[in-house]
């Protein structure tokens, strides 16, 4: 066993883990962050996307021990004081989901995308989301939601 200390959604967690434990299993089973889901076994689908030190990663494609000393943000860490993140609001308002299974990963990747490129074109959104698969929506409303959130996030910034 290896002792790791990881900040998960702003809370410092220290645990003894097996080195072979995947980050996604650590988040779900040890820390209880079941909002982060496992969609595939091949690192293709992106459903398990979280932020590691502010950048998107597939948490099924990392060992928990690799996150030792780092900061992880999951979908559960986005809402502040009971208010949803603008990306969560945009997914809700644009009906950017059907079954909802891909949504946590979609939202985490979309936030990374808008962080890098505050006003992405439709093409840039589609390319930026290529590591996340949705088998229900055909992506149209997801793309709309990301564009809407980018607009909301930039007006939020100019207000503050």
């Amino acid at each position: 066993m290896t002792r790791i200390t990881v900040s998960v959604d702003g809370v410092s967690c220290t645990d003894e883990v097996e080195p072979r434990m995947l980050l996604v299993h650590y988040l779900r089973e040890t820390v209880g962050k079941v909002g982060t889901v496992i969609g595939c076994d091949t690192s293709n689908c992106g459903a398990c996307t979280v932020h590691l030190d502010g950048r998107s990663v597939k948490s099924c494609n990392m060992l928990a021990v690799q996150a030792d000393g780092h900061e992880v943000t999951t979908i559960e860490g986005l809402a502040k004081d009971g208010r949803l993140h603008p990306m969560q609001v945009a997914f809700h308002e644009n009906h950017a989901l059907q079954c909802g299974y891909c949504t946590p990963g979609m939202i985490m990747q979309a936030i990374d995308l808008v962080g890098q490129n505050p006003s992405p074109t439709e093409d840039e959104i589609r390319h930026g989301m290529e590591g996340n698969l949705c088998r229900c929506t055909g992506y149209h409303n997801i793309v709309k939601a990301v564009a809407a959130a980018a607009g909301a996030m930039s007006s939020e910034r100019s207000d503050s």
Partner: protein
Amino acid sequence: MIPTSFDYVAPTSVDEALSVLAEAGDDAKVLAGGQSLLPILRMRLNAPEKVVDLGRIEALRGVRDGGDHIAIGAMTPYCDIVDDALVREHALLLAKAVETVADPQIRHRGTVGGALVHADPAGDVGAPVLALEATLVVVGPGGERTVAASEFFQDLFETSVGDGELLTEIRIPKHTGWGASYEKFVRVSHQWSIVAVAATVRLDGGSIAEARIGLTNMGSTPLRATAVEQALVGKGASDLAEACSAAAEGTNPPSDLNGDADYRRHLAGVLARRAVQKAMEG
């Protein structure tokens, strides 16, 4: 699935990593960015006794100016290569290839050195590194040695990096001002290249003074299309088709569900022409 049990060690220096590797022998597996190794471990295609994580060795990250070359630390992640000013100025081809690798999440973790040592012939880093005539720095118990990219790739998933050795740096001779393009053929996004062609050219007036062409997934290792490179000298933008049609000459591409060998040979010629055309545009 989850990986089989292993011991984990995360050295903070190259020397420490080498001594861990020497002690562990061939039961150790080196973990770079893990974007190929983790799926392999999960599928239990490999079951190492010990995993040696290079992720805590800061000295292996970053790009620096080495005078006549740029030097890229083996643990530099893809995302840091794509926007790096030195890479874009002196080795644009590498940036163009790396920005097509997998997807953003994978590019945040995956490393150029990890990809080179993994040596998947469908990977996108080998062909540009070969075409740009890079030199690879390998360290081991006996010290440091340098390997030309043309000697580095030995076979499918096999390089000249031996047990107990580490790739530490990729040195790319400056190709300042060379235009570049990486034309990758896939059927769906974030797929491995069915075939890809890496092309970089130096222009003199409107025609090609020098060209370098690398091929991805046209054999068990990345390949260089030297006959095309020679045939392109002196050619203008409207005059590329014949020179590029020889791109597959002498290659032995794989046949699989994505396409048979003949199809890949055809693709290589088409993609070479497109890549050179785009490279001439900048």
